[in-house]
C-alpha cells in the first residue's frame, strides 16, 4: 500500500484512513464537533464530515440533496456506480426493494435463527476454550455473522473465508485500489450467478430462492439487480456485526466492572447491547451531494461526497449525556448505529440477535477474561477489532 500523506489539519484535510483515526477516532470527532462540526477534505475528490447528531440526522433524512448512489467514500468514483439495491437506491426506486427484504428480516423472523447462532458460537468456543486464551476477533467474532448469513442465503458456510476476503477487498483495499474493487465485485457476481442458475431450475428453502421468486410491479428482478442485492446482503451482514461483537468483547475485556456486572445481572443485556452499539457503532455510510444545499449553517456543494458518520453522531453530548462513557444500563438511547431515515439497516434485528447471542454464549463459557496484547482495528467504512488477544482467568 502506498504511504498516505499524514493529516495536518482535521478541519480542512481529514482522512479516515489516517492511522490516528483507525486507532482512536473519538477524540478527533469530539474536537471537530466543537471547532468545525462540518469538516471538509480535498481528498477523495472532495468530501464533507459532519460530526453532530443533528447534522447527520438531517443529511440521512434528506434524499433530495444527498444521494445513496455511492455509499462508500473512495479515492475513485466508478461510472456508473455499482447498484446494490436498496442501499444504493434513492426514492422512488428504493421502496419496492426495501419492502421486498423487510418481511424476511423482522425480529420475529430472526428468532428462528437463534438456535443456529447459539450452536455456531459454542462450536467456536469449543475449539479454543482449553487453550486458556484466544484471538477473539479471528477465532470467534469473525466466524459468527458470516456463517449465519451464509446459512440464510443458502450458500455453503465453508465458503466463509472467501466471503471475508471479498469484503476486505471491497470495503478496505477497494477504497484506494479500484482494480481490487472491480476484481472482487466481478468474482462475487460470478459466484452468485452460479447459485442463481442452480435455483432457477430447482428452488430451495433459502433467502436466495425467495428473492428469485419475488416480483416488483409483477416482474421478477433482473440479474444485475438480483446479483447486487445478494452482494449487499453478504457484505452488509458480515464485518459489520463481526465488528459489533468484537467491540463489545473488547470493552468487557478491559472493563472488569462491566464484565462482572453483566455476569451477575444478565437482565442488563438489552441495554448493554444498545450501549455497545452506540458507543462503538461499527458502520459509517456515505452520500453523494447531488444538489447544492446548506446543513447546520454550512454551505454544501454538489459533487462532493459526505462521510455519514453515525459513530460520530452517537458520541454527540448534545443528545447523549456522558456520551464518552459506556453506561451498560443506559435506558434512554436513541442511537443511530443502524442509520436513520429510509435506509435504516434492514438487518438490524439480525445484528442485534447475533450480538446478544455471541456475548451471552461467550460469558456463559468464559465469564472472566482480560486483554492479553495488542488490539488491531479495521479501517474505512466499518470499524471493529481484527486482532483481539484475550486470556481467560478463573
Amino acid at each position: 500500500m502506498t504511504p498516505r500523506k499524514p493529516v495536518t489539519d482535521w478541519t480542512t484535510d481529514w482522512d479516515h484512513l489516517d492511522p490516528r483515526w483507525r486507532e482512536d477516532p473519538y477524540p478527533i470527532w469530539d474536537e471537530l464537533r466543537r471547532s468545525c462540526p462540518i469538516a471538509h477534505t480535498e481528498r477523495y475528490q472532495g468530501a464533507y464530515l459532519p460530526t453532530r447528531y443533528e447534522d447527520v440526522r438531517a443529511i440521512a433524512h434528506d434524499t433530495t440533496h444527498f444521494s445513496s448512489r455511492r455509499v462508500i467514500v473512495r479515492e475513485v468514483r466508478p461510472e456508473p456506480p455499482i447498484p446494490s439495491p436498496p442501499i444504493t437506491s434513492d426514492p422512488p426506486h428504493h421502496k419496492p426493494y426495501k419492502q421486498l427484504l423487510l418481511p424476511l428480516f423482522t425480529a420475529e423472523a430472526m428468532t428462528g435463527l437463534e438456535p443456529k447462532a447459539r450452536a455456531i458460537c459454542n462450536e467456536l468456543i469449543d475449539k479454543f476454550i482449553a487453550d486458556g486464551h484466544c484471538d477473539a476477533a479471528q477465532q470467534y467474532t469473525r466466524h459468527i455473522p458470516v456463517r449465519v448469513i451464509a446459512h440464510m442465503l443458502g450458500v455453503p458456510e465453508t465458503d466463509s473465508d472467501q466471503f471475508i476476503k471479498w469484503i476486505h477487498e471491497i470495503l478496505e483495499l477497494g477504497i484506494t485500489d479500484e482494480m481490487v474493487l472491480m476484481q472482487a465485485t466481478r468474482e462475487m457476481a460470478e459466484y452468485f450467478a452460479g447459485h442463481i442458475a442452480e435455483r432457477r431450475n430447482r428452488p430451495k428453502d433459502d433467502l436466495m430462492s425467495q428473492l428469485l421468486a419475488a416480483r416488483i410491479d409483477g416482474k421478477p428482478l433482473d440479474d444485475r439487480h438480483l446479483n447486487g442485492m445478494l452482494r449487499l446482503l453478504l457484505i452488509a451482514g458480515i464485518d459489520t456485526t463481526w465488528s459489533g461483537i468484537g467491540a463489545a468483547l473488547w470493552h468487557l475485556a478491559r472493563t472488569p466492572t462491566d464484565r462482572d456486572r453483566l455476569n451477575a445481572e444478565p437482565a442488563l443485556m438489552p441495554t448493554a447491547i444498545e450501549e455497545f452499539l452506540r458507543a462503538f457503532s461499527p458502520v459509517t455510510m456515505a452520500r453523494e451531494v447531488v444538489k447544492d444545499t446548506e446543513i447546520g449553517g454550512c454551505p454544501i456543494k454538489a459533487g462532493n461526497m459526505v462521510l455519514l458518520s453515525f459513530p460520530a453522531a452517537n458520541r454527540d453530548p448534545a443528545v447523549f449525556p456522558d456520551a464518552d462513557k459506556v453506561i451498560i444500563d443506559r435506558t434512554e438511547n436513541r442511537h443511530s448505529a443502524f442509520g436513520l431515515g429510509i435506509h435504516r439497516c434492514v438487518g438490524s434485528n439480525l445484528a442485534r440477535l447475533e450480538m446478544t447471542v455471541a456475548v451471552e454464549e461467550w460469558l456463559k463459557r468464559v465469564p472472566r477474561f482480560t486483554l492479553a496484547g495488542e488490539v488491531a482495528w479495521s479501517e474505512g467504512t466499518v470499524r471493529g477489532p481484527r486482532q483481539l488477544p484475550i486470556k481467560f482467568s478463573s
Partner: protein
Amino acid sequence: MRIRVDPEKCQGHNRCKAVAPELFVLDRFGNASAVGDGRVPPGFAEKARLAIANCPELAIEIIED
C-alpha cells in the same frame, strides 16, 4: 394518556416493541403502531415514556385528550 406512531416517520427500528412490547404492534414490514386506540393502560406510562425516548426517528407522540 394516549400514544401514536407517525407512520411517515417510523422506519421499523423495533426499539418501541423491544422496550414496551405491550404497547405496540408491528406490521409485516416491522413498522410499528400503537395497540388499539393508543390508550396507555394504568401502570404503563413509564414504558411509554421509554419507548418515546428510544425511538431514533422521534416517531412516537403523546396525544393529549
